[in-house]
């Protein structure tokens, strides 16, 4: 039965390999290129905004842009947009506990009397 499956797979892929033409089941490539352009645009925004005198908001904008870039990479490049719930939970778990670490650490240092 597995030999049968293998034979099927071979006949299915052989024409594509011979002609080099894309088979119909290939997912579209444009989301990858579009995400790349968006990431480069966000990087330019990151760099440009750093030279504006915005005080503490420079840091807020920088980190905010980084979070948007990360969400783009994780949803499109790392396929979380079409992954199962268990995969998304595993992906978010690390960031959740990082938020606990940062929240408790900064909750201490930001509220200390100077």
């Amino acid at each position: 039965m597995s030999a049968q499956r293998q034979a099927n797979a071979v006949t299915a892929t052989a024409p594509d390999k011979a002609s080099g033409s894309p088979p119909e089941r290939a997912p579209p490539a444009w989301p990858y290129w579009l995400t790349w352009l968006a990431l480069l645009a966000l990087q330019a925004l990151n760099l440009g905004s750093a030279y504006l005198p915005l005080g503490p908001f420079n840091l807020v904008i920088n980190v905010g842009i980084s979070i948007v870039k990360t969400l783009l990479v994780m949803t499109i490049f790392m396929h979380l947009a079409r992954s199962s719930a268990v995969m998304r939970i595993a992906a978010v778990a690390g960031f959740f506990f990082l938020a606990v670490l940062l929240g408790l650490s900064l909750g201490d240092y930001l509220t200390r009397p100077t």
């Binding site: 990858y32 990087q43 690390g94 670490l101 240092y109």
Partner: protein, 216 residues
């Protein structure tokens, strides 16, 4: 050529190849969660140290090379594109396209390391490497030294990850060239892609925190 394509080898405790790939991918995501916390501790250290020495971080931040840092950021973002296209190509069994994109990703990774090494070399010549040779004059020298300690540690930890990533990508590219993957079986390419994109995410945060501090 197509007849040599490797069919999926499914272990007995998985119902089929998809089931097996899902389990492997979940394992990779759990590993990446531990990696988020590995780098997370360093980011928390950065946050607290910057709160205590805000001006020193501004002065230290103006000593990093913003041009080379920006070029390197663009290189890594582009390598994520090429890796994404490699995973896409391998998922439908395009051997040649997959090998090309994987090789390009590895080359971009090496280019990043070369530029990063050049930066480190120049910073160490300027006396910015923390330790007995640390040579910086200005206000709050210990704070600036802490900034550069975090800079070298965090970009260093990132570079170690990237070096491992390059070796893995090169190995997977060789396997792909030997026709070890097919539309049925390409899990190693998928997992390598996830690891590669994670390294990109770490750099996405390192870039503003070390290169874009107090530029205005």
């Amino acid at each position: 050529m197509a007849a040599d394509s490797t069919p999926a080898i499914v272990a007995s405790h998985f119902s089929d190849a998809d089931n097996q790939e899902t389990a492997a991918t979940l394992g990779m995501w759990i590993f990446l969660a531990t990696e988020v916390l590995f780098f997370g501790v360093l980011f928390a250290g950065y946050a607290v140290t910057r709160l205590i020495h805000p001006e020193a971080f501004g002065n230290g931040g103006r000593h990093t090379d913003v041009l080379l840092g920006s070029i390197n950021t663009a290189i890594l973002l582009t390598s994520s594109l090429t890796m994404g296209l490699a995973v896409r190509a391998s998922s439908v069994g395009w051997r040649r396209s997959s090998v090309t994109w994987l090789t390009l990703s590895a080359i971009l990774g090496v280019a990043f390391l070369v530029i990063k090494g050049y930066e480190w070399y120049h910073e160490s010549l300027e006396g910015l490497l923390p330790g007995p040779g640390f040579d910086y004059s200005g206000p709050d020298v210990p704070g600036v030294e802490l900034f550069f300690f975090l800079y070298f540690t965090m970009t260093g930890a990132h570079a170690v990850h990237l070096s491992i990533g390059i070796l893995v990508v090169a190995s997977v590219a060789v396997l792909a060239a030997r026709d070890k993957f097919s539309a049925d079986y390409h899990t190693p390419v998928v997992l390598t892609g996830l690891y590669w994109h994670f390294i990109d995410v770490v750099w996405i945060f390192l870039y503003p925190l070390f290169y874009l501090v107090s530029r205005s």
